[in-house]
């Protein structure tokens, strides 16, 4: 039974430089701010940052791991509020996602997702709508 307040299992992922290179290749997004410190710095960023769409893809996993049929995802949206800086080391950066059911109506559940890197929330208004029984 899905009800308001139900918490979804959280997920922590690690982004290393290698992961950004792989995502750039798979997605075709070769914006240099995702692989060059020099270019990221020129735009006033503290260093190379993760693709927003990679963070968004990881956040979606909290929901798609929870629903059994991917066809039940009806809507999914986020705001990119803070860049996720990925250091050039072996440790990378951890991003932790959690999610909670905020509303259940007419066979639909609205889920709020939170994404935290370090102490900071990196996504705003991250929300998924799924079909429920």
């Amino acid at each position: 039974m899905i009800e308001v307040g139900t918490e979804l299992p959280p997920l922590t992922v690690t982004f290393r430089r290698e992961d950004l290179v792989r995502y750039a290749g798979a997605s075709g997004d070769f914006n240099p701010i995702h692989w060059s410190d020099r270019m990221a710095g020129a735009l006033g960023l503290p260093g190379v940052i993760a693709h927003g769409m990679l963070t968004m893809a990881s956040a979606a996993r909290v929901v798609t791991d929870w629903i059994s049929d991917p066809a039940d995802l009806l809507e999914y949206g986020v705001r990119f509020t803070k860049p996720v800086v990925v250091p050039d080391d072996d440790k990378g950066v951890n991003v932790t996602f959690s999610a909670k059911v905020d509303k259940v109506t007419d066979g639909r559940a609205e889920i709020d997702i939170t994404a935290v890197a370090g102490e900071e929330k990196v996504l705003g208004r991250a929300r998924a709508v799924v079909r429920v029984q």
Binding site: V13, D19, R22, Y23, G25, A26, S27, G28, D29, N31, L43, G52, M53, L54, M56, A57, S58, A60, R61, T64, D65, P70, A71, L73, L74, E75, Y76, G77, V78, R79, F80, R125
Partner: protein
């Protein structure tokens, strides 16, 4: 060479459709580190954010509209939303049309919202992607 509210409604269609292959889906799922079995095999569906990539050829057309004068290296992706009619799956042949829906200006920064309709080549809806981007026209 600027963008303003009179450009709302302009539409850009990708010159070619996008044929979704199961190996591309697998490659994308690997790249986002997602081992979900739904993304593997002949009946594979694509992870939800795969839809963004399918809009990129339409976005290219929008960025190439010289009357808008946008530069990719001055764009920041501010927000992204998807609505799905059904999952994208291996074997789909997908057409994309991006339409400018909102333009707001604040000094040198232009906030542009555009909606990309993803359909089968026969016009059946699959998903809609709504993107908000900020373009900085300042000198800096």
């Amino acid at each position: 060479m600027t963008i303003d509210a009179t450009m709302v409604g302009r539409s850009y269609t990708a010159a070619e459709s996008y044929q979704v292959g199961r190996e591309k889906i697998r490659e994308f799922a690997d790249a986002i580190g997602d081992p979900n079995p739904a993304y593997i095999g002949d009946d594979a569906v694509a992870p939800p954010t795969f839809a963004f990539m399918l809009g990129s050829r339409a976005l290219e057309q929008l960025l190439n509209d010289e009357e808008l004068g946008l530069r990719l290296d001055r764009i920041v992706h501010g927000a992204q939303k998807f609505s799905y009619t059904r999952p994208i799956k291996a074997g789909d042949d997908i057409a994309a049309t991006a339409t400018i829906t909102t333009v707001r200006k604040a000094g040198d920064v232009e906030v542009i919202m555009y909606e990309t309709a993803l359909t089968t080549v026969d016009g059946d809806p699959i998903a809609t992607s709504t993107s908000t981007i900020s373009h900085n026209r300042g000198e800096s």
